[in-house]
Amino acid sequence: MKHPEPETTPVLELEGVSKSFGAVRALRGVSLRLYAGEAHALAGENGAGKSTLIKVLAGVHRPDTGTVLLDGEPVGFHGPADARDAGVAVIYQEPTLFPDLSVAENIFVGRQPRRSFGRVDHRAVRRATAELFERLGVDLDPDRPARGLSIADQQLVEIAKALSFDARVLIMDEPTAALTGSEVARLFGVVRTLRSQGAAVLFISHRLEEIFALCRRVTTLRDGALISSEPLEGLSEDDLVRRMVGRDLDDLYPKQRTEIGEVALGVRRLTREGVFTDVSFEVRRGEIVGLAGLVGAGRSELARAVFGVDRFDGGEVEVLGRRLRTGAPSAAMAAGLALVPEDRRAQGLVMDMSIERNIGLTGFAATTRAGLMNRAAERDRAVDWAVRLQVKYARLAHVVGTLSGGNQQKVVLAKWLATSPQVLIVDEPTRGIDVGTKAEVHRLLSSLAAQGVAVLMISSDLPEILGMADRVLVMHEGRLTAEIPGSEATEEAVMAAATGRADRGRTAA
């Protein structure tokens, strides 16, 4: 059955909206209609203008031209508060929490339940938060401060916040990018309930299967312009990809056959108290090893300790036979190690610096002459990698913070791949990257492995792990619980180990 546009008035509507940032035209005359009780997907490559569109809907940006209509009436949102008051709840692409406030306060900031004389009812806030978490199946202490939450947990708090509004319109910009399957499933369950209660939902994701699982209608953007707005029924993933990128997609997991060589990264009995315990594994040259686990399993923390950003309390790390000191990333880099961190905004990039200089940060050795910066060399190095990774930028001298989320991720990759590492640890390398470029990143990792680089890939995108890894390590609550050869790795096996239901016999030695 086709789903023609309903006859009713859309709850929220965009009409011919354009928005430019200086020379960059992020949106050009885009229209969009959101109906009550319908989930609507927004698709497009990195930098297509999806987040910008959402920010227009949320009152963060004011459109240069065009109008926003609520229940058919034009409205001028003067700020996020206006949109919120109109019943629009938004989950932004980048979590925007208050690190010093408790998780509960984060969720209810500005609209806490009150007692007499307008006083905040702290107990009610806590109770409501606990209920929300219950609904989402989130295991977080409402009283802990938001500082120090992993990206995934932050995203979960954002989701809880958006749900707590009981909004008429729920807008979600890549809410699932950092989540694993189970959390996504929970989230979808809750969203479906809201939808059936009459909420309009706008959903963005680069995981196409999620779009198909949740939405009925899809709008596609390319370079800020509207390409199509149509029912999803009858559309295949390939159709959608073609609309987004204007061509057919190559194989998403282009695994090359490689020669597995000597041990490049050896981790023995590594322990950081309270975070991970007694972790041992090896990664060989030419090998891609996947590291799977649930949110909060400690994968990212392990990667950080290996790279030396965090100290470890016991155990040792060896790169190409060289033993690394604890807490010395510069030594790790010198030994040939690179880490693409998971949080691109805080850890990956200096948001206020230019694209060029961000990429240049890892390459002083190559771009100095007699102790002085060689700007031409710095520029060449940056251009080379920006182009190879298809970063969509206007000028390399522009501040990296103005790039779209996916393009920022590409700059992080560029920054580290430019160091020609021997051992590459990538933590959520394709978080927020569009399907087209994702394949490109996979091809790149694959060809690096073929050239003898050892790759450790942490990802919450299980198909990605299964599609790319020669071997899968699984962590659960700070311990390595399984080591599964790529050929035997299935979703069930990995999930079993990740949830602690693993067959202990297969646990890594």
Binding site: G16, S18, S20, G22, A23, V24, R25, R28, G29, V30, S31, E45, D64, T65, G66, D223, A225, L226, I227, S228, S229, E230, R243, V245, G246, R247, F307, V309, P329, S330, A332, M333, L339, P341, A346, Q347, G348, L349, V350, M351, D352, M353, R357, G360, L361, T362, F364, T368, G371, L372, M373, V387, Q390, V391, K392, Y393, A394, K415, G436
Partner: protein
């Protein structure tokens, strides 16, 4: 492979040259222009301003601030601040006086004073980097501590009888030119600082550290060591300033250079250095120092009272932050109006 248009930006409406210029004029350039304008006006209209003696006075009095502004700029760019500079200078002067009274030769004293500055900086730096304390808090503490030690060391003495050739170096000028002797080493230090901040990996690392410390750490920059070295440098230069101060004013007292930190910070802020770290240029900082110094000199020459001078300084500071902001908003508003006029909505292709 995707076609070329996806890799680079789709051709967009180029903003008119003027708007681009508006965005490009940074505050530090503006301070430079302001300084030049002031100098030109002063040379033409202010009696007694343009002669060599007055200019040498002007430069001599501004030098202590300018000297400390160099490392302070680097430190602030890296996201920290040192309020103890005035006290370090005072301590170095006091120790210089005490040791001179004790009969040591000045050639032995000066290196000791500089070493003392290094130690002061090291203490600040270690407290900030090892204990992770905020530099503002630490240096408010050491500001009092160093000044207090200076008071203990020299007490109520005022040492004035340093060797004449040193005193002459501190207060004299080269022949009949307007250049004080001390301006020569300053120029060298300035050149070094400019190169370090703007043309070396160290400078890049400083900017990165100030703008995003965590990202800098993840990029393999040794953030703590870098900050420590900046504190040490600041201590060293402050001590040097203390020695210069004692010679320039021919007086070593424990309260030398009191309040210098506020002058330095005001000047550096005026020069467009962002106290959140990661932004600014040395040119701007030095222009800020000279602008304040010149303005004060001119106002004194034109009999503007001390009180009015304070008001002018304050107004200048406020304008220095409001002006670029207002300018940007105006140019943004103009740009928005222009695009609104230019955009013709394309008809959506619907399948």
């Amino acid at each position: 492979m995707p076609d070329a248009t996806t890799t680079t930006m789709a051709p967009a409406v180029r903003p008119p040259a003027l708007a681009r210029l508006g965005g490009a004029v940074r505050w530090d350039t503006a301070v430079g222009v302001l300084l030049l304008t002031l100098l030109v006006c002063s040379f033409s209209f202010v009696d007694n301003f343009g002669n060599a003696l007055n200019l040498s006075f002007l430069i001599g009095n501004t030098l202590p601030i300018a000297l400390i502004a160099l490392p302070m700029t680097l430190l602030v760019v890296s996201g920290e601040v040192d309020l103890s500079v005035g006290s370090t200078a005072g301590l170095s002067g006091a120790v210089m006086g005490a040791l001179w009274n004790a009969g040591m030769t000045i050639e032995a004293i000066i290196p000791l004073c500089l070493l003392l500055g290094v130690v002061c900086g090291l203490i600040n730096g270690l407290l900030v980097t090892r204990l992770g304390l905020p530099s503002l808090a630490v240096t408010i503490g050491t500001m009092a501590a160093y000044r207090g030690i200076a008071q203990i060391v020299l007490g109520s003495d005022s040492v004035t009888d340093f060797p004449t050739q040193y005193l002459d170096f501190g207060s004299g000028r080269i022949g009949d030119t307007f250049v004080p002797y001390a301006a020569v080493p300053f120029t060298v230090l300035l050149a070094v600082a400019v190169v370090v901040l703007h043309a070396t990996p160290t400078g890049r690392s400083l900017f990165a550290t100030g703008a995003g410390e965590e990202a800098a750490r993840f990029s393999g920059i040794r953030v703590k060591r870098l900050k420590l070295s900046m504190f040490v440098t600041t201590g060293l230069i402050s001590a040097l300033t203390g020695v210069f101060w004692a010679l320039h004013y021919a007086s070593a007292r424990y309260d030398n250079a009191t309040g210098l930190e506020l002058s330095v910070i005001a000047a550096v802020l005026l020069g467009g250095i962002d106290f959140d770290g990661g932004k600014g240029t040395l040119g701007g900082a030095v222009a800020g120092v000279l602008l304040l110094g010149t303005l004060q000199n001119v106002m004194s020459l034109t009999n503007v009272s001390a009180q009015s001078q304070i008001v002018v300084t304050g107004v200048l500071l406020v304008i220095s932050v409001l002006a670029p902001r207002v300018g940007r908003q105006v140019s943004e508003a103009r740009a928005r109006r222009r695009t609104r006029a230019a955009v013709v909505p394309p008809s959506p292709r619907t399948s």
